[in-house]
């Protein structure tokens, strides 16, 4: 029977491998751009050139120029940095906090579980955008605030799926065997390794969401200030010129899309692998 399972898994594995390679390539490419854009960009993204406003894509400016004559391509490259700073930080924070909360609630059960879950429900129903506006108003606009707001809105999602996985594992005989032996740190040593696949799936999914969230906040003017090359901010700044100069909006929009698709590809492939193994 193992032969059956093996051969059935094979074509799927090959597909996963291709998807994983494509996804990782896209994400890595953007990571390199975020780190090295000063060396890669043909122009200074902030350099204004009123003589060459709204140039269409061409040999001089590959993706054209915007309302101030700034090079769209260079701005797109520079815009990768803020996104790739905020999104991974927010994701990491949300996943670590969510995992701890979910593990604690799931393995403790009872009243602790009940209270934690109701608090998380309250967080979930509070609109994230309003929360973001509130926090920016209170603490001022900064990367830290954006990271905290995004992370905070993701913690309940991560915590709930980790809790669900913990509840499944908690009932298994190996955990009972550990209880019979009086193991200490039972949750961390026995349960956590077996909910890690859930944690990793959550991490990849939330990473994609975090990119969108970061772009959304910048678009609303809550993240990066207007005028910065950040993708969300660029889409917002240029949306008035969508008809005469669509490239100014399309470039940052496609950048966001490509990064999110890359992450989704990699995430799906990883999930498929875990399920196959």
């Amino acid at each position: 029977m193992s032969a059956v399972a093996l051969s059935r898994a094979r074509p799927a594995t090959r597909r996963h491998r291709v998807a994983l390679a494509c996804g990782l390539a896209i994400v890595l490419a953007w990571a390199v751009v975020a780190a090295l854009w000063p060396h890669l960009a043909p122009y200074d993204p902030e350099l204004q050139d009123p003589a060459h406003r709204f140039l269409p894509p061409g040999p001089g400016h590959w993706l054209g120029t915007d309302q101030f004559g700034r090079d769209t391509f260079s701005r797109m490259l520079a815009g990768a940095r803020p996104v790739l700073l905020v999104a991974p930080a927010a994701t990491a924070l949300a996943v670590v906090a969510g995992t701890l909360v979910g593990l604690a609630a799931g393995s403790r059960g009872g009243l602790v579980d009940e209270i934690v879950m109701r608090v998380l429900d309250a967080v979930v129903v509070f609109p994230a955008i309003i929360a973001a506006v509130l926090f920016v108003a209170l603490a001022g606009r900064s990367v830290t605030v954006v990271v905290l707001v995004i992370a905070g809105s993701f913690v309940p999602i991560v915590a709930k799926s980790v809790r669900a996985a913990t509840l499944v594992e908690r009932e298994k005989a190996y955990v009972e065997a550990a209880r019979l032996r009086g193991e200490r740190a039972l949750t961390l040593r026995e349960i956590l390794p077996n909910v890690l696949p859930t944690v990793l799936v959550e991490a990849t999914s939330r990473f994609g969401d975090a990119i969108f969230a970061a772009a959304t906040l910048s678009f609303l003017g809550l993240g990066q200030p207007p005028g910065s090359p950040d993708w969300g901010a660029s889409v917002s700044d240029n949306r008035l010129w969508l008809q005469p100069a669509p490239w100014t909006v399309l470039a940052p929009a496609l950048a966001i899309a490509s990064l999110v698709v890359g992450i989704a590809l990699a995430a799906d492939a990883l999930r498929g692998r875990w399920e196959a193994s």
């Binding site: 032969a3 005989a173 193991e183």
Partner: protein
């Protein structure tokens, strides 16, 4: 043999009068391969057999020997990677393998019926069972009202009580046995010509299995189809089949009449499978079980020569070089072995080990008093008193739902809390494991039923054992611990996913023994294992017990297994202990009428005694516990009306240390049939108390 083309367009009734004119199933030289990453792997090689209409043919072998693949090939239900690479499957003369897709569909609908393991899986959970059966009937052209009538008739035929109410239920509202009955009812629609039963009772407990086998025996005579029964369980095959084929590594290694094959196997593999099963009444004091060493080769990995040679005690160079041919060993009895003549008597293998007398005198190790455990409002364990002596193996039997697992878990400190006392060495133990101190925790360990769930999948065997050694203050090294459980040292650095079921259970046993426990609770430790593996695990449990003097609370639904290992046996029914006493006395009787029904089920498996049909009405276990009188009264054949259903039965002494909770006088209690009774105990003096 080019008639196949002619008949491929014909279906159903027409195929019966085909050119070749052979009625029943004829499989000729059938081979099946699977496409794998490493190329083609042969799963079934050159298998030929015939099954006449009305005959039942059993296919036995361990898991991984190609049984299921063969069963699927008969109905052309192979998974996409599998392909028939040679041979033919003819039913009533028509070659099934040559049918066009449309003809195959029609053939399956009219001539084939398959009953799978896990009946629940083949029923649609969102449809009432009556509607599911009616759907099949409607597809065959029955009218709505006619289909409804027919459904009730079919459900009645598979002996389901109150068919009208069963038809209205959803699959999850039925017990496993009832689900299997519904699937059998579906299989009976349209009088199939070929009925394939793939492990039809695996996962059902002994009494339910017994009922299902009764039913299969009943319907097979009625429908006159060729029946193929696939199982790893020789006892089951022995009981139900006319002829048996033993499959090993995709080849038929022995074939013959069931009673010939089981009485005098001509292939060492068959002999080894037989020696691996404890018979009813056989104790570890009589015979050591012998496991079949190793595992069957994976498809495509069979060695040249005889595929069984690496695991065979008789193998020599000839076996390793030349595959043995299928040769006659008697009337209709063939085997594929070079050394059939040298085969030892199967039942005499293994000599009895020297055992210390069970249950040393002195204060008991564990005393359970008035223990009650509830799930919701129902008391699953109800006012149970039990003692376990030092170095004693107490066997606990009962059907599923009897509360035996809940009782065992309560001893270990798991499960719901409730009233009652548990004394360890006379000192009370807190009910919850979390409240027990380190010493008490270390003294009671547990081995769980499911080998897959009982080991942490993220840890290697070494880590699992090392963690147990640390928390249980064991002094051994992981290597020694593994060796004591018969585990290969190279397995230490593998994770559980790569281990077989038997190996996993050995790790679980090693882990339980890490800190020299006084009591190990064994919750059905072999129920999930193949018979060939079961023997090895039972033997290990017996060895560890002998070597360490640890007491066991050993739970099983299989009376033969419990009788093999236990010194004393307690029988549980619906939360109550109905009988308790020395193993031989409980098995031999006089015993409780419920114990008697368990004994009958166990004996019938080996064809050693006729089954007693009609004793346990199907579905009775799902009835609510009666408020007054004896809980077994509704199913009891010896019921005294007006007494058993009104007064709770007293606990009577039926002999030395043997107590039965029944209204009947011990003189009138049933006994096991004389020819099948356990061997009289060696030390007859010990049991010379006046036989009532």
């Amino acid at each position: 043999m080019s008639t196949a083309g002619n008949t491929s367009g014909n279906i159903a009734g027409d195929t019966r009068e085909s050119v070749s004119g052979i009625a029943g199933l004829a499989v000729e030289d059938l081979s099946v391969t699977y496409r794998t990453g490493r190329g083609e792997a042969a799963a079934v090689t050159g298998v030929s057999f015939r099954v006449a209409p009305g005959e039942t043919y059993g296919i036995v072998g361990e898991s991984g020997c190609g049984k299921t693949t063969l069963g699927r090939a008969l109905g052309r239900h192979l998974p996409p990677e599998g392909a028939v690479t040679g041979g033919s499957v003819r039913l009533d003369g028509a070659d099934v393998l040559e049918l066009s897709p449309a003809a195959l569909r029609a053939w399956r609908a009219t001539s084939l019926a398959v009953v799978h393991q896990e009946a629940g899986g083949s029923l649609d959970p969102t449809m009432r069972v009556g509607a599911q059966l009616a759907e099949i009937l409607r597809a065959r052209g029955h009218g709505r009202a006619e289909a409804r009538r027919e459904v009730l008739r079919l459900l009645g035929r598979v002996l389901l009580p109150d068919p009208a109410s069963i038809a209205r239920r959803y699959p999850h509202q039925l017990s496993g046995g009832q689900q299997q009955r519904v699937v059998i009812a579906a299989a009976l629609i349209g009088r199939p010509r070929l009925l394939v039963l793939d492990e039809p009772t695996t996962g059902l407990d002994a009494t339910v299995e017994h009922e299902i086998l009764e039913l299969i025996g009943l319907v097979r005579a009625e429908i006159g189809a060729a029946v193929v029964l696939i199982s790893h369980d020789l006892g089951l095959v022995a009981r139900l089949c006319d002829r048996v084929g033993v499959l090993y590594a995709g080849r038929l290694v022995e074939e013959g009449r069931a009673r010939d094959v089981l009485a005098a196997p001509a292939h060492p593999y068959t002999a080894a499978l037989l020696a691996a099963v404890p018979r009813f009444g056989e104790s570890r004091r009589d015979r050591e079980l012998t496991a079949v060493p190793g595992r069957p080769p994976a498809p495509g990995d069979a060695p040249p020569g005889c595929a069984f040679a690496p695991r065979c005690a008789l193998a020599d160079d000839l076996c390793r070089r030349t595959p043995p041919p299928l040769e006659a060993r008697g009337a209709g009895h063939v085997a594929r072995c070079h050394h059939s003549a040298r085969l030892p008597e199967p039942r005499l293998a293994g000599s009895p080990p020297a055992l210390a007398p069970a249950g040393e005198p002195g204060p008991p190790l564990l005393e359970i008093g008035g223990l009650t455990r509830r799930y919701g409002r129902t008391a699953v364990v109800d006012d149970v008193d039990l003692t376990i002596g030092r170095g004693e193996v107490l066997g606990l039997v009962g059907e599923s739902g009897s509360g035996k697992t809940t009782l065992a878990r309560a001893v270990a400190g798991l499960g719901p809390r409730g009233s009652g006392t548990i004394l360890l060495d006379g000192r009370p133990l807190p009910a919850a494991v979390g409240r027990r101190d380190g010493r008490a925790r270390r003294r009671i360990q547990m081995i769980f039923q499911s080998p897959d769930a009982s080991l942490n999948p993220s840890h290697t065997v070494r880590v699992i054992l090392a963690r147990a050694l640390r928390s249980l203050r064991g002094r051994a090294a992981p290597e020694d611990l593994a060796a004591s459980a018969g585990l290969d040292p190279h397995l230490l650095d593998t994770r559980p996913a790569r281990l077989s079921g038997g190996q996993k259970q050995r790790v679980a046993i090693a882990r339980a023994f890490a800190g020299e426990p006084d009591l190990v609770v064994c919750d059905e430790p072999v129920s999930a294992l193949d018979v060939s593996v079961q023997a090895g695990v039972l033997r290990l449990l017996s060895e560890r017990q002998r070597a360490t003097g640890t007491s066991y609370l050993f739970i099983s639904h299989d009376l033969a297994v419990v009788g093999y290992l236990a010194d004393r046996v307690a029988v549980m029914y619906r939360g109550r202990i109905v009988e308790e006493g020395p193993a031989e006395r409980v098995l031999r009787g006089p015993h409780h009428p419920y114990t008697s029904s368990l004994v009958a089920a166990s004996l019938a498996r080996f064809g050693e005694a006729p089954a007693r049909p009609g004793q346990d009405p199907a579905g009775a276990p799902a009835a609510p516990v009666r408020a007054t009188g004896c809980r077994y009264a509704d199913r009891c054949p010896s019921r005294v009306d007006g007494l058993c259903d009104a007064e709770p039965p007293p606990l009577r002494t039926a002999g030395d240390r043997h107590r039965v909770r029944c209204h009947l006088d011990p003189r009138d209690l049933p006994r096991a049939p004389a020819n099948a009774a356990p061997h009289p105990p060696r030390d007859e003096e010990e049991f010379s108390a006046p036989d009532p």
